[in-house]
């Protein structure tokens, strides 16, 4: 069962309106699968994946959230300790794009911690596009985050989401690592560095405080 050695453990949450393809993106990324018939996510779902970024292994603890407004109170309890955020909208659902700023603001209101984010426009395979690429780019620029258009159905750019996010996480974590070595231990419990290079067993999860 064990996923073995890793350098960092990072909590990532995936946010966006209902039906934009959050679960399909994750399932494509983690299990190389796609299904038109996945049941709707209720509350939250949870996946683990090791990401290799250059010489580092980042263990992603990914929380897939329900998009319906009613579940907002529940999903917000999972925001704490998140270090990576994937905001997803559907290219064929204008409302889901209009609501992205609401999701971004919900994060800004809930956490004072600096997070690595990425904006994803999913369902690139569909012919019925309602959101132009330039609009997504503009929104991503406004909040200073990378932007990708993807298709979970065709497995297009899915790996790129996590590679881009992983690159930024690595830079941030290395910077934080220097702070940690200077200041012994980070206080917030936001993430944890796996400092023993030859360790074979996993350290305790960083999610202890969430």
């Amino acid at each position: 069962m064990s996923l073995g050695y890793y350098d960092w453990l990072v909590k990532v949450i995936v946010l966006g309106d209902s039906g934009v393809g959050k679960t399909n993106i994750l399932t494509q990324f983690c299990d190389s699968k796609f299904s038109q018939n996945y049941t709707a996510t209720i509350g939250v779902d949870f996946k683990i994946k090791i990401l290799n970024i250059q010489d580092k292994k980042i263990k992603l603890q990914i929380w897939d959230t329900a998009g319906q407004e009613r579940f907002r109170n529940i999903t917000q309890t999972y925001y704490k300790g998140a270090f990576g955020i994937i905001f997803v909208y559907s290219l064929i659902d204008r409302n889901s794009f209009n609501n992205v700023e609401g999701w971004i603001k919900s994060i800004l209101e809930s956490t004072t911690d600096e997070v690595c984010s990425i904006l994803v426009g999913n369902k690139l395979d569909s012919q019925d596009r309602r959101v132009q690429t330039a609009e997504g780019e503009k929104l991503a620029q406004k909040y200073n985050m990378p932007f990708l258009e993807t298709s979970a159905l065709e497995n297009k750019n899915i790996q790129d989401i996590f590679d881009r996010l992983g690159q930024n996480l690595k830079i941030r974590l290395e910077n934080e690592g220097q702070k940690v070595s200077n200041n012994t231990q980070r206080q917030s419990g936001q993430f944890k560095l796996n400092q023993e290079a030859n360790q074979t067993e996993q350290p305790t999860s960083s999610c202890n405080s969430c």
């Binding site: 796609f34 709707a40 996946k47 579940f71 305790t204 999610c207």
Partner: protein, 318 residues
Amino acid sequence: MLMCCNTKRLKTGESPNRSKSKPKQRNSEICPMFTKERWIEIMKRSFEDQGYSELSYNLRHNFPLELRCQVWFWLTEKARIKSCLYQKLQFESPSEQQILKDLHRSFRLKRNRKRTSGSSDSSSPDKNQEQGKVDQQKLDKLKRILIAYSNLDKEVKYVQGMNFIASSILEQLEQEELCFIILNHILNIQNYRKVFLMDMTILEIIDKRIQFEVPLIYNKMQELKVKSQYCFDTFIFSLFQLVRKELAHRIIDIFLLEKESILQTVIIQLLKMQQVEILKFQDQDEMIIYIRNDLIEDALDKLDDGKDYLSQLLSIHL
């Protein structure tokens, strides 16, 4: 200690008539086993005229599968509506867009199980093959049932998770209006609508029951800092809609009489059955993933060897 046990029983909502201190066999000595004729006979009267313990026992251990439709109808007499009301509720609902989004993802279809528990470090492409599609007629019925409920209950409207309950009922019953009555009974009469208003006290009760009834697992969860919420928040919706439909339907059989305590009981029994495996975990993430993704199937696999696993899972004792 005695006080503690009594408190626990009241909190879980189990019938006070059942003595938890007595062994399982004792029940069968007290409660007569209903024959099919007896079921037909008692259904001529109100279910409230029937002794609770006797009915509860027979719902668990002696359920007349061929009479399920009649038993459900009998148990839900309080939820019945005037025959014209269902049609009157078929008007445009503010929840319609969300209902439409969820229709196609309401029925749980069989897929090949993957034993990686949702975690993966390698990517071996696995072309997904859907093993069946839900027919349009059933989807249309589901839509109308959910629209009707969203218009009936103005406070809750439609919330994701209701589609799981309704689709599971639909898989048993052909009659759309009767499905609506059963759904209305679960949500309104048995007050499960509170869950859709995000009242999650049921998770606190599950946590307490784990503490008292499966203390080793409780201690392990404490050790790994695994909250019940992480493991069981989806169970309170998904137990109604399982790939193993027979279990989902048996849960509904009992829920119609006993409310949500049957969900707690099933979770406790699943944990008891997989206790050895669960206690081996040394990692928070893997424990959560196992409980969320594999617990049910692993437990049911164990019981598939000809035993009456459903009765065992639904029992107070195991």
